[in-house]
Symmetry: C2
Subunit: 353 residues, 2 copies
DNA sequence: AATTAGCACTCTCCTTGCGAGAGTGCTAAC
DNA sequence: GTTAGCACTCTCGCAAGGAGAGTGCTAATT
């Protein structure tokens, strides 16, 4: 967040007007004028009064004019104030909650499908680009190891983590082994390191038989990888939506925003410094205009939330759209999805052995 | 492919000019005129002669003018003729081949990484959007089954397919079972149905013990799913590239093209009707302007190729860009990647047990 | 002291007109 | 068959002008 000089607190009437300007601008994408506001909302004051108040709000930094003699447009600060103080939570209609819940339960227990569905719902409801990361443990712990002979000295290693993540990797043994030997080794190692993190495994690596030593090496390598990944697999949807917005219809900005989602390193950085930095699950965060940190998001806003069971497996929900985005709708959909996914994760993945 | 009335065959000189026009238009994105061509390529004829030939090519349907008194632009047919008859294969420089190959071998045996790398290389080299699908068997056969107790009656089923695909699914047993029982059942089933396709399994499903019956049910369900999927997982890259092209900078068209890649059903349809329809691996197919079938690709072209080992596991490489795309470069990169990936698949995934 | 009517002013946007430039097609000469 | 020359067409950029929207300010009103 950028260093802010304390902003002046608007009066009650100014707050109402600010909310109206934001609402109207989000709807129409064109600057809103005093006369228009009075007309459209049957305000109990004249356009001149509104004009005075808008001028004050402009002075305070919540609004700006694209040029002298145009209507007003919210500034970043304007959106921030709106989201932080003015936005009253709208609750998702009950029928919609039910429909969505139903869809999730129809998918069975397939995490991949949940992710796709979540991304799709987010993208549709917010009419923007969405982003969902699969549940992922910060400190992965081994739940089950399996070794499968494929050919000669090549072996497929399948690791299941506590929390349900599965990773696989094809590797080459230093000397051949039968499937029986492999299975025995896998069972041995599973028993020894059940529920252990990579540190524990690394520590107790001593003088194992040749085969076990090979396997442990890969296991550690793979767990390290899983641990260095800040998030689970990434699912995107609705990328085409952002191109429909007038502010992105041409211009460099759409490209930058898209690149942000495409490029894993940027995304990891973004997530690490926002949702993951704060521990809380279920809360919704809003980044407006890149918050001075992400240049590629200068024209955009992101709504982010974390779901899951902290300590076991958590994931992220995100929506990327123009700054002029329907925050109310987006936030309420995301809040709902976040709690729904948290429930699903808890129900199916929690380890109670 | 659309029904074509036989096109008139251009003369040798016309062919040269057509190639030059295509080349020049791809480079500059603006209509090319007779005078300019003579100047730039030191042609041994006057602009008037060129004008006559261009008029002839226009008459034949290979070129068109955006308006009277503008230069010429290739038509779809023009591109088609160019790609089919005029494009001489450029071979990728040796250093680049080596660099790319090196990168792939550095990834080890991780299919997921290969896919990402392939998508990234394709996107960068062609400066367009790329698409890679993971190796996938048309007729999946079981290689190994594993059952892992998670909690109560919940069981994680991990299936490894011949060819290396891995699928997992969380399911609920009709009555509880210990890990020992699960492992035994998994081994029993693996032994019985090793290398069998879903049909064989469905056929010999008889009076198994309760547990086995449950498991077989899911196994069949999951194999059916794998079989109904026409392709493996889809990896996209360079989506932001297409927005950089002038023809996509604004307008509906970029959105349509993006949607095509995003929407799995469209993509499956596209792949099913093109690369997968023809059996050959390694050949490169070019779709120009949607070929009358895909409306969303009206402004775009796709270059497609299939890689892998037919009958075992194959995947698809694709590039989506504006019709005014550098076909030569794209095709040569794709040809190289296709054979490289085929080698990798053959080396690591072929089953010789 | 706050509100409002009235008005001059500013700026965008759209249209119109016009000249420069690029490129063509045609004709007549080579 | 090729080319020089020329009239013609169309886009593009620029300037000028008018309509429209919206502002800020001042003076009158409540």
């Amino acid at each position: 967040m950028k260093a802010e000089l304390a902003m002046i607190e608007p009066s009650e009437r100014q707050r109402v007007l600010l909310a109206l300007v934001v609402h109207e601008y989000v709807r129409t994408a064109s600057p809103v004028g005093s006369h228009y506001l009075v007309e459209r909302y049957n305000l109990d004051m004249s356009s001149a009064t509104v004009r005075n108040e808008l001028a004050a709000l402009t002075e305070m930094g919540y609004l700006r004019q694209p040029h002298t003699s145009a209507g007003r447009v919210p500034t970043e600060e304007g959106y921030r104030y709106f989201v932080g103080r003015l936005l009253q939570e709208t609750v998702l209609p009950d029928t919609m909650r039910r429909t969505i819940t139903h869809q999730f339960y129809q998918m069975g227990n397939d995490v991949e499908q949940w992710m796709r569905l979540a991304a799709s719902v987010l993208a549709h409801q917010s009419r923007a680009a969405s982003l969902v990361t699969a549940p992922h443990a910060e400190k992965p712990r081994l739940k089950h190891l399996e070794l499968i002979n494929t050919r000669g000295r090549q072996v497929l290693m399948v690791m299941v983590m506590v929390g349900g993540e599965v990773r696989q990797r094809l590797m080459t043994l230093s000397e051949p082994a039968s499937q029986e030997q492999l299975s025995a080794a896998a069972e041995r190692i599973t028993r020894q390191f059940l529920d252990k993190s990579v540190d524990a495994i690394r520590a107790s690596r001593g003088s194992q038989p040749n085969l076990d030593s090979d396997v442990l090496g890969w296991l550690i390598e793979e767990l390290e990888r899983a641990e260095s990944n800040i998030s689970g697999e990434v699912y995107l949807d609705g990328l085409a939506n952002v191109l429909a917005e007038p502010e992105f219809s041409s211009s460099e900005d759409a490209r930058r925003a898209l690149r942000m989602l495409e490029e894993r390193s940027m995304l990891q950085d973004l997530l690490a410094r926002t949702v993951l930095a704060t521990g809380n699950v279920g809360g919704v965060q809003v980044l407006i205009g890149g918050e001075g940190t992400w240049n590629d998001l200068r024209q955009s806003s992101m709504v982010l939330s974390r779901y899951g069971v902290p300590g076991l497996a958590t994931g992220t929900l995100g929506v990327l759209g123009p700054m002029r985005m329907s925050y109310g709708k987006t936030i309420s959909v995301m809040r709902f999805l976040s709690s729904l996914l948290s429930d699903l994760v808890a129900e199916t993945l929690v380890d109670e052995n």
